[in-house]
């Protein structure tokens, strides 16, 4: 057999085998989605069941619920049921979900997708209508009710049409507006018209942010009373009663309480399972989530008008009384003063009242005890301040009345109460003590404990410190500065002195400048046409320059003098000859004037200038 033939056969067989599953007739796989009610209110919950049945139903993946809009998935469960009938295997897989509606309206659930062996299948879609809440709002039942009762009455009808029995949780407040610090009592009540609830669990306690909270009552067992809401009879059980005292003014929100409980579920289809008809024992319980609505309490700030000066924030209604344990004692003996403040209100807001004792008494920090109880409604509290006083002087002393100011929300006004004053007689201290020797010495202010100082505070920048100055090169330049200045000053001074005293030095320094000035004058004479002056100037300038250089008198400059000067200067020979030549020409022009032309004079001036420059350069 040809190898090619073998390969071809193998490929065909393989292709066939791969295509086979598709080629087989599709067994019946049914996927049905159904809900237990198609009209519910927003407070109800919905049960969605997806039933898959068929050979391969067991291999199905979990359905994909992510596309369901308008509902929140609260719980899920699944079950499989395999039965063999007449040699045929039948699998039924059910997924059950608890859905909580999020929005009112008509919602379409599904089609819900799932996969079996990477094949995608879908259930049908269901349509559910979500109606407005049928629970009457708290305002409708509070004393100051609005006209909402009638409205919800209508809704109540539609609610009654929903298939399942009702159960809901409600928070009720005794007031919807309060002053800061005024007690608001919240009751959490469970309403139901069914009798088979079990396993009540608090899953979320409200946080009571913005309030002081004190629990007044918490139910250990459910005790039901009968109530009628919207013409429907319900049984109500008080779960918890809390006293809330708002802390800040504005709108304060009391959060929801969330409960879960179990109710039994009766099967919809009487399924013939292998175990027969199990009902009460093994019937599944369904978990229901109950949530109370959040409440908004409007909190008013305490009025400014009429607020007494010593007001420290106590809200409620209080009494105050004081007592002392003795009215006569010796200097240095302790005296106990007890202040009792009692009344309705939040005991946390009762601050230590101000006691203005005379200087004769030493007062120490009080011992404070607090107690509060709230049996049914308003929280009653009592705060005791126990002071130890030590009299330091003898005589008749008065412990003044102590005043307490509070705001009474019932009367919406401030009030003050005060204790009575006490008269105390202080007798002199024990004999031999003279000026009262304090039995308890004052603390000398010295260190009672030592500890390190606290850390340095936060910074924006932490600049480098501690760089030694001598490593910074500009520093050295600055250091050199005064020395340079001094040297310069000294030189400058020497120069000036020499100029003042040493003539020869002065002349020497000025020679060049003088020569230039002289030649400039000659130039001017030339331009003015004063030939004689011109020549005289040039001659004078040159001899004057030379004389300055060697510090001799210019007047008596002879030829020998000129030669000697040039020797002394060590100047070049051509300079000397140029010098002599210019002088001769000048003398000639002066004493034997003939037609000296302008060009000649200009040339002469130029030569004179060059000569001076050359001699200056040679210095």
């Amino acid at each position: 057999m040809n190898s090619k033939f073998v390969t071809a056969t193998a490929v065909i067989i393989w292709a066939f085998a791969a295509a086979l599953p598709q080629a087989l007739p599709a067994e019946d796989l049914s996927a049905v989605a159904r809900v237990d009610a198609t009209r519910i209110t927003i407070d109800d919950q919905l049960n969605l069941t997806i039933s898959l049945s068929g050979d391969r139903a067991n291999k199905a993946s979990d359905p994909d619920l992510s596309m369901i809009e308008g509902f929140q998935v609260a719980g899920s469960s699944q079950s499989s049921n395999i039965s063999i009938v007449n040699g045929q295997m039948n699998v039924i897989k059910e997924f059950t979900y608890t859905l909580l509606p999020k929005k009112v309206g008509i919602h379409r659930i599904g089609p819900i997708a799932f996969t079996i062996r990477r094949e995608r299948h879908e259930t049908n879609a269901v349509v559910v209508e979500v109606l407005e809440s049928s629970i009457p709002s708290a305002a409708a039942l509070a004393p100051s009710s609005s006209g909402k009762g009638a409205e919800s009455g209508q809704r109540g009808d539609s609610a009654a049409q929903t298939a399942q029995p009702r159960i809901f949780l409600r928070a009720e407040a005794d007031r919807t507006s309060a002053f800061v610090g005024e007690q608001v009592t919240i009751d959490y009540i469970l309403y139901t018209n069914r009798s088979d609830i079990s396993n009540l669990n608090r899953s979320e306690m409200p946080s009571f942010d913005g309030f002081w909270a004190e629990e007044i009552y918490s139910a250990k067992r459910l005790q039901f009373t009968d109530r009628v809401i919207d013409g429907q009879p319900y049984r109500a059980a008080l779960l918890q009663r809390i006293a809330l005292f708002p802390i800040l003014s504005g709108e304060a929100v009391v959060d929801s309480m969330v409960l879960t409980c179990q109710v039994p579920v009766r099967g919809r289809r009487s399924r013939r399972s292998l175990f027969g008809d199990m009902d009460s024992f093994f019937s599944r319980g369904k978990e229901i989530v109950l949530r109370s609505r959040p409440m908004i309490i409007r909190v008013d700030a305490l009025p400014e008008a009429g607020r007494p000066e010593g007001f420290t924030g106590s809200v409620g209604e209080y009494t105050i009384d004081a007592s002392i344990d003795a009215d006569e004692m010796r200097v240095g003996d302790p005296l106990t003063l007890i202040l009792r403040i009692a009344g309705t209100g939040n005991p946390e807001t009762i601050r230590e009242p101000e006691i203005r004792l005379p200087d004769a008494f030493e007062k120490y920090d009080p011992k404070v005890t607090e107690s509060s109880n709230a049996v049914s409604g308003p929280v009653r509290g009592e705060k005791r301040f126990e002071y130890i006083l030590i009299p330091r002087e003898e005589g008749d002393k008065t412990i003044p009345a102590v005043e307490l100011s509070y705001f009474n929300p019932a009367t919406q006004a401030y009030a003050s109460v005060s204790t009575k004053a006490f008269l105390v007689r202080v007798t002199p201290g024990r004999a031999g003590e003279g000026s009262p020797e304090p039995m308890i010495t004052r603390e000398n202010i010295h260190l009672i404990g030592k500890d390190i100082r606290y850390i340095k505070p936060d910074r924006q920048r932490l600049p480098a410190q501690g760089r030694p100055l001598y490593s910074w090169w500009p520093f050295w330049i600055i250091q050199a500065l005064p020395i340079v200045l001094i040297v310069g000053a000294a030189l400058h001074k020497r120069h000036r002195e020499r100029l003042a005293t040493d003539v020869g030095y002065a002349r020497l320094r000025r020679a060049g400048k003088a020569a230039i000035r002289g030649l400039q004058a000659a130039g001017k004479a030339f331009q003015a046409g004063r030939t004689a002056k011109f020549h005289a100037d040039v001659s004078k300038t040159l001899t004057g320059y030379l004389a300055d250089r060697v510090n001799v008198s210019a007047a008596g400059m002879t030829r020998e003098g000129i030669n000697a000067a040039f020797e002394a200067l060590g100047a070049r020979d051509e300079d000397r000859s140029a010098f002599v030549e210019i002088l001769r020409e000048c003398d000639f022009a002066r004493f034997a004037p003939s037609g000296t032309d302008a060009d000649g004079m200009r040339d002469l001036l130029g030569r004179a200038r060059n000569l001076i420059r050359s001699l200056e350069r040679g210095r």
Binding site: I452, R453, Q465, G466, A489
Partner: protein, 257 residues
């Protein structure tokens, strides 16, 4: 056109170059502040970590070292606390909090040293020494120099006898102070720059007579004690205590300030 691009390139480079160290400094300051947060809630170990991180970014600042010293002290690491306090004082000798805490930490060091009594002159000098940092002494010397030169300048330019005497007085005072500061400077340079000091980090060690475990132990040292470093051999340091005792300890038990 070319000039503009060239200039802008220089500008960008300059900004980038300056951004580098600024970046490091910023995260360093951030770590410092983070350390403060941890310290304020008594998470001292994390505070120490944050401060050390800030140190690693290259910050040389007394406040950082002070806070680090506090945090390590709160953790009971006395030797390290003294180390950081001393380093902080090197950067900022005038800081009162640093001095106070260093004194406090030193008071916790176990073990006392018999210190020889020093005379009043020595104590006066010590007070003077601690009064100013190295840079302050240098600045003072520089100021004296300037004053002296100013006097000379004035003397050069005015020859009136009236001014001569006060100028000479000023100059003599300058010279005297200069000498004093010079000595101070020498002392500071010697102790702060030339001589290395160290602090013991281990709880207790015994200094030996030589650089090796076979040498005789001669005196004990406790965590937090400071000393001068006079010599080194592999793994050992020769140290000198303030009271004159010298010995050798292992390098890993101590840290140079």
């Amino acid at each position: 056109m070319m000039r503009q691009t060239f200039l802008s390139a220089i500008l960008i480079l300059a900004v980038a170059a300056s951004a580098g160290p600024v970046e490091a400094a910023e995260s360093g300051v951030g770590l410092y502040n983070l350390g403060n947060r941890h310290y304020s809630v008594e998470r001292y170990d994390e505070a120490v970590e944050a401060y050390l991180g800030a140190l690693e970014t290259g910050i040389e600042n007394a406040a950082l070292l002070y806070n680090l010293g506090n945090a390590t002290l709160k953790m009971g690491r006395l030797g390290e606390a003294i180390l950081y306090y001393e380093r902080g004082i090197e950067l900022d000798p005038k800081d009162e909090d640093l001095r106070f805490n260093l004194e406090f930490a030193k008071s916790l060091v176990k073990g006392t040293l018999k210190m020889p009594k020093k005379g009043a002159l020595w104590r006066f000098f010590k007070w003077l020494y601690s009064l100013m940092g190295l840079n302050s002494v240098v600045l003072l010397l520089s100021a004296l120099l300037f004053l002296f030169c100013a006097c000379i300048l004035i003397r050069i330019y005015t020859s009136t006898l009236r001014l001569r005497t006060p100028l000479v007085t000023i100059q003599s005072i300058c010279v005297a102070l200069f000498i004093l500061c010079g000595i101070l400077l020498y002392a500071k340079v010697h102790y702060e720059v030339l001589v290395e000091c160290g602090v013991l980090l281990a709880e207790r060690v015994e200094a030996r007579s030589g650089p090796g475990a076979t040498h005789t132990p001669i005196f004990p040292l406790h965590e937090g004690m400071t000393f001068e470093i006079h010599g080194r051999r592999t793994g050992w340091m020769q140290i000198r205590l303030p009271n004159g005792l010298t010995g050798w300890i292992r390098t890993e038990t101590m840290e140079v300030i």
